[in-house]
Every structure is written in structure tokens, then in C-alpha cells.
């Protein structure tokens, strides 16, 4: 399976998070998955400015060129997209959200009704299924995890794809790999 991991850890001194993802990626590779990891904090990813140029000027591509283009390309050509982030004030990191906001070139501007809700039809035939890995912060509780998971599950509807797991870095990487092997 082709897997893209978006490492949304803004702080390289958070080595616990980094080594968790490294362990996960190594184990996935040993199970013959192909893993491409983007360390977002080291990339040039601008904020989406809401111009809709990617819909009405250069359809499918952001008009403000930055490193997010290579991420979008990998996403579209993958089977599983993993969002990974420490929880920061109750949500995934701002640097991960920057990439998230820059994913609207992947859908069309038009509206359709999908499963009883308005969404934008896909620009591509299919999108990877999505998973979420969170590192709790000191005051993270179950409600926080549920809220973040629900928001990401909702976002999978925007790409008419499946949300397949939400896991914590406090659990073993083997559990995530088992989950992925079962997809």
C-alpha cells in the first residue's frame, strides 16, 4: 500500500513524537508498505489566502506556488493518508492545518449532495482513505480526542473517502500497523 504521512509536529525537540513516527514507518516498510513522510515544519507551506484561484484561474493547482504541490501530488497518488500531530490547545497543529487548507485544489468548485449533505465533487477519480495519529498534550481528555476525530472524520466526507482510524501515540505502533494491514 502507498502511504503518505503528514508529520505535523512543529517542534523538533519533541523527540518522543518523532521516534514514534519513525518506529511506525519502519514497521510499515517491513510489512512491504511504501511510506512517504513529509516533515511539514521543514517545508515552505504558505497559508491558504482564500482566493479560489485553484478553482477559477488555474483549476486544480494553487496559484501561490509552494511545497504543498508535491504533497497534493503524493496524496492523490496514494492509498492511505495519515495525519499525525501533537495535540496543541485541543486540536492538531497549525502547520498541519496549513496543508489541510491547501487541499481544496483537489476538489471541484461545484456543489453536489452526497449522503444527504452538500459537498464538492472530486476532481480525481478517488482519494486515499484517511487515518489520524495524535500525541496527547498534558490536559488532553477523551472529549478532546473525540472532537478532533469527529472533525477529521467529517473532512473525509469532503473527499468522499473513508476515515479508517484515530490512534494515540500512547498506544503501540503494532496496533496501527495491524489496523493498516486490515484495510
Amino acid at each position: 500500500m502507498k502511504i503518505v504521512v503528514l508529520n505535523g509536529n512543529p517542534d523538533q525537540s519533541n523527540t518522543e513524537f518523532e521516534s514514534y513516527l519513525k518506529g511506525l514507518s519502519d514497521l510499515l516498510e517491513s510489512h512491504d508498505h511504501k511510506v512517504t513522510t513529509f516533515v511539514l515544519r521543514d517545508m515552505d507551506i504558505r497559508y491558504c489566502v482564500g482566493c479560489f484561484g485553484c478553482w477559477v484561474k488555474t483549476p486544480g493547482e494553487c496559484v501561490n506556488a509552494d511545497d504543498s504541490a508535491q504533497i497534493r501530488r503524493e496524496i492523490v497518488n496514494s492509498d492511505l493518508l495519515i495525519f499525525a500531530s501533537p495535540v496543541i490547545i485541543g486540536f492538531t497543529s497549525a502547520v498541519l492545518k496549513r496543508v489541510h487548507d491547501k487541499c481544496i485544489p483537489l476538489v471541484l468548485p461545484y456543489l453536489g449532495i452526497f449522503d444527504g449533505e452538500c459537498h464538492h465533487p472530486g476532481r480525481y477519480d478517488s482519494y486515499p482513505v484517511m487515518g489520524l495519529i495524535l500525541q496527547p498534550e498534558s490536559d488532553t481528555d477523551e472529549e478532546d480526542i473525540q472532537i478532533i476525530t469527529d472533525i477529521y472524520e467529517r473532512d473525509s466526507l469532503n473527499f468522499q473517502t473513508d476515515f479508517v482510524f484515530s490512534k494515540l501515540t500512547t498506544g503501540p505502533v503494532e496496533e496501527i500497523v495491524d489496523e493498516i494491514n486490515g484495510i
Binding site: 489566502v49 486544480g60 497549525a94 489541510h100 468548485p109 461545484y110 452538500c118 480525481y124 473532512d155
Partner: protein, 224 residues
């Protein structure tokens, strides 16, 4: 009342969020003695100033468009910069306005839970969250199509200016909760409404000479 308004739209001064805030503030200033300060969060290089403004604020209104079912990244950056104020006594009371392009309130439901929890986490008394869908394109609409929308935000501001809270009835009517089933889904959206939205985008595509290319798939059609 002294209100500090953070406009969290990446479009800043030209934003739909700003237009709705304009109506809200017109109502808000109808009560004598009310004043406000308006801050644009898209000036991302001014994060330190934003935090100081928040620290000294009495009442805060954070307004933004829904991006990918959550807050725009500039708003998350702002929220993260407030971390040092967590647990400090005397944080301002806070309320939120979230507007979306999608018409139904269901898209914003999960984020509403996040925002209420955020207020609690920061130790800010929460005075409400107003949600409104179907806002994209309002700048291209004739006045008769935006009149009721603008009146609703004016009423929300006027009532808030007098009471210091968001009136639950105005909140419900703004979200048009009665137009949707209890789960907030899109029953009642007509094919004609969808067509209207499609035409809006097609016009913009034609204006930019990009219509023929509207279904482009740059990441699969053009290998690297």
C-alpha cells in the same frame, strides 16, 4: 462594553466575514457607550501584538470562515499563540462567529464543540457561537438576496450590545436550524440552488479564460 474583534478570515478586509461583522457591529454600537477594536488575523507577522491585545481585552469576538470543517490555519496559529495565557486569571469573555460556504449547519457542528471547549480551556467565559452557512458569493448577490442575512447579523449585534450574550433564538434563525432536519443535513436544498452555485463558478472560470480547463487533474494527467 469594550469589544475586541478578531477577524480570522485569510481574505482580511475584503472578506465575507468582514461584511457580516460590519452588520453585527452596526447593531452593537447602537447601545450607548459601546466601543470596539477590529484586528485582522491575516497579518500573521503580528502574532505578538495579537496576544497582547487579547491579554488586555475585556470581551473578545473571534469570527472566521469554515476551512476544511475547522478553523483556517491562521486562526489555529493565533489560538496556539494564546497558550501562555492558559490558566491565567482574568482572561476576557469570548464568543465566536463561524460562517461557511456550505449551506447546512451540520458542517460546523463538530467545530462548535471545539470552540466551546477552547473557551473553557483558556478560562474565558463563553457567551455563544453563531453559525451561518451559504455565505460564499454574497458579494455578487443583489441586495434583496442578502437583506435578511444582513438584518440577522445586525439584530445579533444589537442584542449582544445590550445584553452581552448571543440570543439563542437569533442564533437558531441565523443557522436556519428550522430549515433542516434535526441532524442538520441538507434536505430542502433544491437542484436549482445547486445550479445557481455552479453558474457562479462557471462565470468566474469563463472570466479568467479557464473554463475549458475546469476539470483539470494536474497530479495524474501530468506525470512529474
Amino acid at each position: 462594553m469594550r469589544l475586541t474583534v478578531f477577524n480570522g478570515s485569510p481574505r482580511g478586509t475584503g472578506s465575507n466575514t468582514g461584511i457580516l461583522l460590519g452588520q453585527f457591529l452596526k447593531g452593537y454600537t447602537g447601545t450607548e457607550g459601546n466601543s470596539y477594536e477590529l484586528i485582522y488575523l491575516n497579518r500573521v507577522d503580528r502574532q505578538d501584538e495579537f496576544v497582547e491585545t487579547f491579554r488586555n481585552a475585556e470581551t473578545v469576538l473571534l469570527a472566521f470562515p469554515l476551512y476544511a470543517d475547522a478553523m483556517p490555519a491562521i486562526v489555529k496559529t493565533f489560538i496556539e499563540s494564546l497558550a501562555p495565557l492558559r490558566g491565567r486569571g482574568g482572561n476576557p469573555s469570548i464568543g465566536f462567529i463561524v460562517q461557511s460556504g456550505f449551506p447546512e449547519p451540520v458542517h460546523t457542528r463538530c467545530l462548535e464543540r471545539y470552540l466551546q471547549k477552547l473557551a473553557k480551556r483558556l478560562g474565558c467565559p463563553w457567551f455563544g457561537t453563531a453559525v451561518r452557512g451559504g455565505v460564499e458569493g454574497i458579494q455578487a448577490m443583489p441586495p434583496e438576496r442578502t437583506r435578511r442575512l444582513f438584518e440577522s447579523f445586525y439584530s445579533l449585534g444589537k442584542d449582544f450590545g445590550a445584553t452581552g450574550r448571543f440570543d439563542p433564538q437569533i442564533i437558531d434563525s441565523l443557522a436556519r436550524r428550522d430549515s433542516y432536519p434535526a441532524d442538520g443535513r441538507s434536505k430542502g436544498i433544491t437542484t436549482a440552488q445547486l445550479k445557481g452555485s455552479d453558474m457562479y463558478w462557471d462565470n468566474l472560470l469563463r472570466k479568467n479564460g479557464a473554463y475549458e480547463n475546469r476539470y483539470a487533474r494536474p497530479y495524474t494527467d501530468n506525470p512529474e
